[in-house]
Amino acid sequence: MHTTGLAEIVRPRDLAEAVRLAAEGGEPLAGGTDLFVRLRKGVERPPFLVYIGDLPELRRISVGESKVEIGAAATHAEILASPAAARLPILRLALEAIASPAIRAMGTLGGNLANASPAGDGLIPLYLLGARVNLVGPDGERALAVEEFVLGPGKTALRPGEVIRSLDLPFPEGAPRAYFRKVGRRRALIIAIASLGALLWLRDGTIERARLALGSVAPTVVRPREVEQALVGRPLAPDALADLVEALSAATRPISDLRASAGYRRTVAGRLLLDLACTISPGG
């Protein structure tokens, strides 16, 4: 059944008021690209919505010496147009894969995180970079690692009244190569069936360090740390990685749904390692 009629939208003057309103039970609204779908389906019925999308302190994107700080309500399009994306190729690759230009103009990275879908493309770079989530709530501020923040599909560590203020994305040491690939039935406007993001530190064609993040194949985005370890010291070539395909598949805990079967997800997640080996040229 459809539920029509929208809850009242309240517009706070500043972040402090937003937090107060959220503590009263208001649901934060930024881009609305996920929230409105849920409201329309009637699976969520907040008493009112708190529009945080135009609070300047939540829109800021600042590039510091060791990190980029992205306000929770900065849109994907704004981030892509900012120096942050240029400095963090993995962020650019992942955000460019989100939906369509219209959705990227509305949707926010903070919202993508709060939605906590294992298929959220924007989450992959956060896991790879070891992002921290800055929260502000009735009891003050705190920060969590992204892996502590996301607890399961749609589940986060947000406490009642807490709002995401910003995300800290530390610059990785050196110059790792970035890879992002999502598998789906079409080339845009698609929720990933499976995805793999990677940062690879290479020397003379050999992997010195690796970070991998798998999307859509478990209740949360997954960092397969055994595979990351096993990659170290190997040449970046499909044949040299072939025996890790199974291991990467084994790091998944997929489900079957309308988009694909669990078996397909498991197989493809592992095989993306071979695509990675072909996509990143060991030289350049």
């Binding site: 079409r186 845009a188 397909y264």
Partner: protein, 774 residues
């Protein structure tokens, strides 16, 4: 019978030119008014209360809580229907509201109208229905077995659940296979395809002038008029249908608006107020028509040199619970089952079968894409078996002037297929292309490219199954200032018909296109031109426009001669010149003013009837259509061997639709058809369980985006002129979709080295194919 119009002698000024769409600006500016944009004083919002059972007896229908809802103005059950409880389409088996028994999930049981859209939704949920479930059947083959639950209304079926069984018996198919050196056989399956028009179904019924007016998004105003009159028990003249700007149809707005309009009309009549009934997207996807799922069993025989000797086809379409358009869809599938080839021995058996599922209906291609997937797969399988180039095999067997079709129809003119194949070969640099693809495949480890071709024919117009509908009228009026109003009964739904018809009118009159205005379609003011379907508008409606234009032009020329006092005038630069002294001329505005001042008749009506067709149901032989359009498509597809993902990289499309009236709108039709075919072959899937569409949303049902279009595509026309069409034009609209999916499917098969036998080729299915091919 239509008169044959020779193309005008002088070079055409307007026809053949890429004129911008007349409706483009209003649509781009957001000024076009679609059904849901309209509002009327006192308007209510209608809602159908629908069955949630696939097959059940309604034991009790308690609407007391619905009626008690404070914002509900009116509730309708079958006893409130003033006329007949039927939606008359081809048969009369489908009730407007279920009569004691429901046969599919989503079948309307009762109606309500409320003060707001929200209240209508709320109130509908308050209906209490007690059902006694009946055994149900969802698969067409199971539905034909003895002992299967009876779904079809017996009066509308040939036997059991078989709505219709149609045949072609040409030659002796056993002899044909005995003469063959090679025989290939296969079974092909396709599921639903949803139209996914941008604008969902919607109507507004307004009781007025002692009758009823229905505004709506629709293709066939005269179908709607007929249905509303039957349900209301009104004379046709008391029912007025006005088409609103229509955001896409693709066949989905052929029969469905009749049902919707009749529901809104009954509600509006009982409430005495206007009622808007616009379907939300999920209700639209779940409860309105779709392309028929099909199972096609196919066998083809050929000589060693590739000459086809025999084709045997058996196919089943899942019609859903009621006939709607299925008999016509089946017939087109039957006639198109053997493809555009010269085949001496043909045996085809087509079945449309009732099941407890949502009724399927018209969708671009109308029963042909399912069999085309099969016949074009067979041609490639045969080519592989023979070691022949698939384009050479197609060209060798392609129909030519003088040949007989599968129904024994001798083609006397306008067969551009061999030329289209030749041109597609040239444009794609077919031989070099094979080498390029081979080189790519040799170099890439986890990617494979493949090439696929397809050739199709398309019977233009209604054909011998419904010849009574293949007529059209047109009114042309020269206004006193020289501008021109054109009124026709066929509709613009985004396909560009208005522009093309205005071009034909302008050309016929010898006036600039800018002076022609096309009137809105309103059944009280336009002639019955039959339905806007079957790629017939340019051809049949175009002939009626030309007929009117020629009548009016004779008067314009007569007036100009009187004004100039000369025996002959010639048009040029929007003026009419004295043939002896071209410096003497009058403008159209001056002529119009003169005609008005001299009390001349300034209007003309035109009429056209398609050329006769005939067909014998026993043998399946006859002149099925008055003319055919043809196409050859070539697709290059890249398959990711790791994931099974596919990507159409390059595409070549060559069409013969006779004279192309507007190259730009025609190109748009072809590109749109390629996209829709890519969707059909690769991604569009609507799973159902127990007769229920599981995910009726665009989150789950994927149509191609701009990103899914080929990186490069080439569209070209070979114009094999048809003497029965305006300036030599045939139909085009459906053909691009019909050809494109099969080329894509063949390219996937080529890339994977296996045979795709079911749509859609989702990544998971393709990965499975790769696994089997390795």
């Amino acid at each position: 019978m239509a008169r044959v119009k020779a193309p005008v002698e002088e070079a055409e000024q307007v026809v053949g030119k890429a004129a911008p769409r007349l409706d483009a600006e209003a649509k781009v500016r957001g000024q076009a008014r679609y059904a849901d944009d309209l509002s009327f004083p006192g308007m209510l919002y209608g809602k159908a209360i629908r069955s949630d059972r696939p097959h059940a007896r309604i034991l009790r229908l308690d609407l007391s809580q619905v009626a008690a809802h404070p914002k509900v103005a009116c509730v309708v059950t079958p006893k409130d229907i003033p006329g007949e409880n039927v939606v008359p389409i081809i048969y009369r088996d489908m009730p407007l509201l279920a009569n004691g028994v429901v046969r599919y999930v989503g079948e309307p049981i009762a109606l309500l109208a409320a003060e707001t859209r929200e209240a209508a939704v709320e109130a509908a949920a308050l209906a209490q229905v007690a059902y006694e479930d009946l055994p149900a059947v969802f698969d067409p083959l199971e539905a034909t077995r003895p002992g299967a639950p009876q779904v079809a209304v017996p009066a509308a079926a040939e036997g059991g659940n078989v709505f219709n069984h149609m045949v072609i018996r040409k030659g002796d198919v056993e002899r044909g296979f005995a003469e063959a050196d090679v025989v290939v056989a296969g079974e092909y399956r396709v599921g639903y395809q949803e139209h996914a028009y941008l604008e969902p179904q919607g109507v507004i019924a307004v009781p007025e002038d002692s009758g009823i007016t229905v505004y709506g998004t629709l293709q066939c105003p005269f179908y709607v008029q007929n249905a509303v009159a039957a349900v209301m028990g009104f004379p046709l003249a008391k029912v007025r249908i006005v088409q609103t700007a229509t955001g896409g149809g693709f066949g989905g707005k052929e029969d469905v608006p009749s049902h919707l309009a009749a529901m809104a009309a009954v509600l509006a009549w009982k409430a005495g107020r206007p009622v808007k009934l616009v379907l939300p997207r999920d209700e639209d996807i779940a409860t309105t028509s779709k392309r028929h799922p099909g199972l096609v069993r196919y066998r083809t025989g050929a000589k060693r040199d590739g000459t086809l000797t025999a084709v045997e086809v058996e196919f089943y379409y899942n019609a859903g619970a009621y006939q709607t358009l299925s008999s016509a869809v089946l017939w087109r599938g039957l006639i198109h089952a053997a493809g555009p080839y010269r085949i001496p021995h043909v045996k085809v058996d087509g079945y449309s079968v009732a099941t407890n599922t949502v009724p399927c209906g018209a969708f671009r291609g109308f029963g042909s894409p399912q069999v085309i997937f099969a016949h074009e797969s067979q041609m490639d399988e045969l080519a592989r078996e023979l070691g022949m180039d698939p384009l050479v095999l197609r060209h060798k067997n392609a129909l030519r002037v003088g040949d007989e079709t599968a129904t024994g129809q001798r083609l006397t003119e306008s067969v551009g297929l061999p030329e289209a194949i030749g041109r597609a070969r040239e444009l794609s640099h077919w031989d070099e292309l094979q080498d390029e693809v081979a080189a790519f495949n040799a170099q890439e480890r986890f990617r494979r490219r493949g090439l696929g071709a397809s050739t199709v024919m398309y019977g233009v117009g209604m054909g011998a199954k419904a010849p009574l509908l293949d007529k059209a009228g047109a009114y042309l009026k020269l206004e006193a200032d020289g501008s021109v109003t054109l009124a026709v009964g066929t509709t613009e739904m985004g396909q560009g018909a208005q522009t093309v018809l205005a071009q034909i009118a302008a050309e016929g009159l010898g006036v600039p296109l800018a002076s022609v205005q096309v009137a809105p379609v309103d059944t009280s003011r336009v002639p019955d031109s039959g339905p806007t379907v079957a790629s017939r508008t340019t051809t049949v409606q175009g002939m009626a426009v030309l007929d009117a234009a020629e009548k009016l032009r004779a008067r314009i020329v007569g007036a100009a001669m009187e004004m100039l006092g000369c025996p002959k005038v010639v048009p040029g630069d929007g003026r009419f010149h004295d043939a002896r002294d071209p410096t003497r001329s009058v403008s159209l505005a001056e002529i119009a003013r003169w005609m008005w001042a001299h009390n001349w008749d300034m209007a003309a009506s035109g009429w056209a009837e398609a050329r006769p067709v005939d067909w014998d149901a026993k043998t399946g032989l006859g002149n099925a259509y008055f003319v055919y359009a043809y196409a050859c498509h070539i697709a290059e597809v890249e398959v990711d061997l790791l994931t099974g993902e596919t990507r159409v990289t390059r595409f070549w499309a060559v069409h013969d639709s006779g004279k192309i009236v507007n190259p730009e709108t025609a190109r748009g039709q072809v590109i749109g058809g390629i996209a829709q075919g890519i969707g059909y072959a690769l991604m569009e899937e609507l799973p159902a369980e127990g007769g229920r569409i599981l995910y009726p949303t665009f989150t789950a049902y994927h149509i191609p985006t701009a990103m899914d279009m080929p990186d490069e595509f080439v569209v070209e026309f070979v114009e094999a002129s048809y003497s029965g069409g305006p300036f030599g034009a045939k139909g085009l609209g459906e053909v691009p979709l019909m050809a494109s999916h099969a080329a894509v499917a063949n390219a996937i098969s080529a890339a994977t080295g296996t045979r795709l036998r079911a749509y859609p080729a989702t990544p998971e299915r393709v990965l499975d194919l790769i696994g089997r091919g390795a």
